[in-house]
Symmetry: C2
Subunit: 591 residues, 2 copies
């Protein structure tokens, strides 16, 4: 069973991602080191004792739909209610709406724990958080007063409604209609698919954030507006009123995260009789500016999905390590104990476990660094705020895609460590892979993230931001070398080599874009993002090792630098020399 790695999480937050500095700068008010520890400790307990037991139950029972109502798996509602009672949903909410106003870094750290316990549980509050952020940033005061207190507390949950059958990655292709009503509200008509937590019985009300198109809207992404559509209308006194005309018509049968209901939602199809047709909706932000509002939700959701990759990797690693210490087969070279050795003693199994742990730690560092940048941007002003906003923007696609890719990889290695038992569902190792496999897809596929990184993030601050970022990482590599510690082996020079690869590919891609070689740049996007993740993750692991005496941390940073990081040279080659043979091979896909 999962045990939250509280010490490792705290160390990464403080020594790697920048929490110590931010507290020292007074960025987070009276937040103290002790309070951080106490919060993490409590969250860890809740995740281990309450959330983790939901994992298998959710997988087994799923979320059956009957008469447009979804029943969550046994025990889930109780845990959710206890979870919000303990204030976990309100961590980052504004204090005026009942939130605790704590940094995103802490929220992301706790999200890691909920998701390690159960990804299907963790994804629900992720979407509520997105709705809260969109409302905080763009809604009228009336809407804020009506909805935010209950969303912040978690008494109600939120959803994001983007996807339609013809509009997946291409949100501009959506067709859901919104019509203006005379009273300033709107009527929504259409259907959405793949709506996570679109319907469930965890909360009395569900607040849908829905992208739709006004009759006179321009085509494409510039004609999309964002609407708030509650499941139940809310009376002036805050009590629940009539059922709105939005219903769940189907729940997907998925490979994993069975405890998370993935719904088809029908808006304005007249299921709720006796009223004017259409689902009642309220505009968020301005008409036709819905995509900008949605990005407020989506950027943080991308980071939150990234942390799901870290979370499932951590859980898979823990289970595999425990198994490898217990299971005995054969005698490892040099084994002097009685009988067969635990398989953790076999070098090949050690490679698997170290790879799992290294990738998990690297991805965690990147995700936390991204959360840190969001906090710094929020607490800064002027150039400082802009710098940190750029940093958050730069790291978001990496935090999303690198973490979720390694989530799949690590879960798959975890099955391998278990041998035949890994393929048996009761063991639980297989579920991690089934659950993890969605994260590289939702909230923007990892291919989309990679293109976003190349197309929109490399040019930040005229290309200066990525330069400065790499320079910061190089300073860590130099500090490793300067430490003169034999335990680091070749870590310092390995990091510099990886950062050389990151720098030269960054320059190459920027030049390709400048020359209008768009296909060539996009062809290299996915290998570039992985290179970015490996090089920065390796550096963060070393930074963590420098940040505190711990033989294990140094050994892991060295293993990463001397084993996993060597992949960057191949990735660089793919970016810089791979495009011609890729773009020229369309004929190989003829049949």
């Amino acid at each position: 069973m999962y045990r939250a790695p509280v010490e490792e999480i705290a160390h990464t937050l403080k020594k790697v991602a920048g929490l110590d500095n931010a507290i020292a700068q007074g960025r987070f008010g009276d937040l103290s080191d002790d309070l951080v520890d106490a919060i993490l400790e409590e969250a860890g307990k809740f995740a281990s004792t309450h959330v983790a037991p939901l994992l298998e139950i959710g997988d087994k029972h799923g979320t059956p739909l009957k008469d447009a109502e979804v029943t969550m798996p046994p025990g889930w509602k109780d845990v959710y209610q206890e979870w919000i009672s303990s204030g976990w949903n309100a961590l980052t909410g504004k204090e005026e709406f009942g939130g605790q106003g704590l940094p995103m870094m802490l929220a992301i750290a706790t999200f890691e724990m909920w998701n390690s316990g159960s990804m299907a549980f963790g994804i629900g509050p992720t979407l509520t958080l997105g709705a809260i952020e969109a409302l905080e940033a763009h809604a009228t005061d009336d809407l804020k007063q009506t909805y935010l207190p209950k969303l912040v507390s978690g008494e109600w949950m939120g959803t994001m409604n983007l996807t339609e059958p013809q509009a997946g990655s291409d949100v501009g292709a959506l067709r859901t209609r919104a019509e203006r009503a005379e009273d300033g509200t709107y009527r929504i008509f259409g259907s959405k698919i793949f709506i996570t937590y679109g319907e469930h019985d965890l909360t009395e009300n569900i607040i849908h954030m829905v992208l739709a198109r006004l009759p006179d809207a321009p085509a494409g992404t510039k004609g999309i507006s964002l609407f708030l559509v509650p499941k139940f209308l809310v009376n002036a006194d805050g009590s629940l009123g009539a059922r709105n005309d939005v219903f769940c018509s189907g729940v997907e049968h998925k490979m994993g995260i069975h405890g998370s209901p993935t719904c088809t939602m029908i808006y304005g199809d007249g299921f709720a009789k006796g009223r004017d047709p259409g689902a009642l909706g309220w505009l968020i932000g301005e008409e036709n500016r819905g995509l900008a509002c949605m990005f407020t939700m989506m950027n943080n959701a991308r980071l939150a999905v990234g942390i799901q990759g870290v979370a499932v990797a951590e859980a898979a690693y823990q289970k595999s390590l425990a198994y490898a210490k217990e299971r005995r087969q054969m005698r490892a070279p040099g084994w002097t104990g009685e009988g067969m050795s635990p398989i953790v003693e076999h070098p090949d199994v050690q490679r698997n476990l170290l790879t799992m742990k290294g990738l998990t730690g690297a991805a965690r560092s990147i995700a936390y660094a991204c959360a840190h940048a969001l906090d710094m941007a929020k607490t800064g002003t002027g150039d400082d705020a802009r710098h940190w906003a750029d940093r958050a923007n730069l790291l978001t696609p990496v935090a999303k895609a690198f973490s979720t890719d390694i989530g799949v990889d690590v879960a798959s290695i975890g099955i391998q460590v278990h041998g035949g038992m890994g393929f048996i569902e009761e063991t639980g190792a297989a579920q991690f892979l089934r659950d993890a496999r969605i994260a590289p897809i939702y909230e923007g596929t990892n291919g989309i993230q990679a293109i976003d990184l190349v197309q929109r993030k490399l040019p930040l601050d005229g290309g200066e931001h990525i330069k400065a970022y790499i320079a910061e990482l190089r300073a860590v590599a130099e500090a490793v070398t300067a430490s003169n510690s034999a335990d680091f082996g070749d870590t310092g020079e390995r990091l510099q080599a990886g950062l050389d690869d990151l720098e030269s590919t960054s320059v190459w891609l920027q030049q390709a874009l400048a020359k209008g070689e768009i296909s060539e740049a996009y062809a290299g996007a996915t290998p570039y993002l992985r290179l970015f993740g490996l090089a920065s993750g390796a550096t963060y692991l070393a930074k963590g090792a420098l940040g505190g005496e711990n033989a294990g941390r140094t050994a892991l940073a060295r293993f990463f630098a001397e084993n996993l990081l060597s992949e960057t040279s191949a990735l660089k080659d793919r970016v810089i020399h791979g495009a011609a043979s890729l773009l020229g091979a369309r004929s190989a896909l003829a049949s």
Copy 2:
């Protein structure tokens, strides 16, 4: 739905793996090019029209157990009966037992097709084939006459019973007992787990090949004997007699291949009343020499599992390519068509599809080359036979592990190409990953294969065999360069660089073994095996491109050489420089 790539399979057999040469040498009697084509064509039809429709049914229905009897999924028995009626099970069997005596190359090619249709279906006959080979090589004439005709025809199926809870990779730890009876037969007592097709209703009888230990046997692997234990005893006239005391007590709930019953088998527990206790068994080969007999089955089973990796990769690729040509989202760079472009036009999707196709083709080539070596060894004598036996031994772990690793990778990429639809079970993309995930585990985990490659295969012929193999591959690279074809781009020099990496790591590992640095050598085993697979697979793809005019083949070989093959430098680095930081990082696994 899967369509067998008959032309590609035939080309790989003939021009890459060596079938043309073997036929020209008269190795395969009167087997003609036309007959090969006809067999492949017919197998392809059967796989597409009969086997592939079983895929989803098997996944959905599984193989329920009731009162020790397993019911196969709807329709499976009919297809199996038609499959054996068409003679597909008898392809390689000896003619004296009703077989067609055809080469293993053809069997492996058809196994690829059955497994592309349904891995859960394909694995059953794989085990029957193993039983046939063990009996042909080691059984008494009486046993051969009694069992081989019906196993060759497929009227009965066979199983392999190795694993016990404490004896997985370490077969020497098994405890199942065999006691000598006065009439020369044996009584078997004990239980086995993870027995594929251990019980089912496809055939009237099931012939179990069971490893067990005699009371006076030495400990470990030198005290294991192999027994034939039929589900139903066979009367002198060939009719079925009494039910033997071997029963299925459980069927595993697995991540994938739900149509393949994975059984716990209980021997001699008295389920069959009114007889002496113990399951009746007949010795195969000599007492205490069972492991050697088992390896006869296991080597070919490893190749056959390897082809499962190829098979599921091919099926996943086909489904993804079809989806990518159909699905439209956004406008790819340079797209001049109406509206959104098919996603196959996006460079990042092309990278995914080309990676899928390239890895599949590379793995196919290696597996077929291994089958070819088996055929050459069988049809040769003296040094020639020894050379080809060495070649088969060298390639078997690569054919098993590289192919099944890429099977998982390719199936996972296939989900990604499908976007959100990939995670929905009805699409079928997810099932390929769930099915594929077992293949790196069973028949010896891929970690075991890698160690086998390093420990037992590199030293073949005093280390000369691997040298000669690399020299053969270099000749292909030289031919590519000599072709002076611009379409190949840098393929020739890229291949040489990959082969340089293969050569230097091979030498390094041999030296490590010679110095007694066993842990260091084992630490590099997995990256070495992948390097071996990439370098030889890339070379085979180029050989295939040289072997016939086809723009797509050349483009794919170039893509592989210029994109995927660059990984060899990182893998080489892991082998040669990675061991110290790996073996020194035990402290990172402390908690």
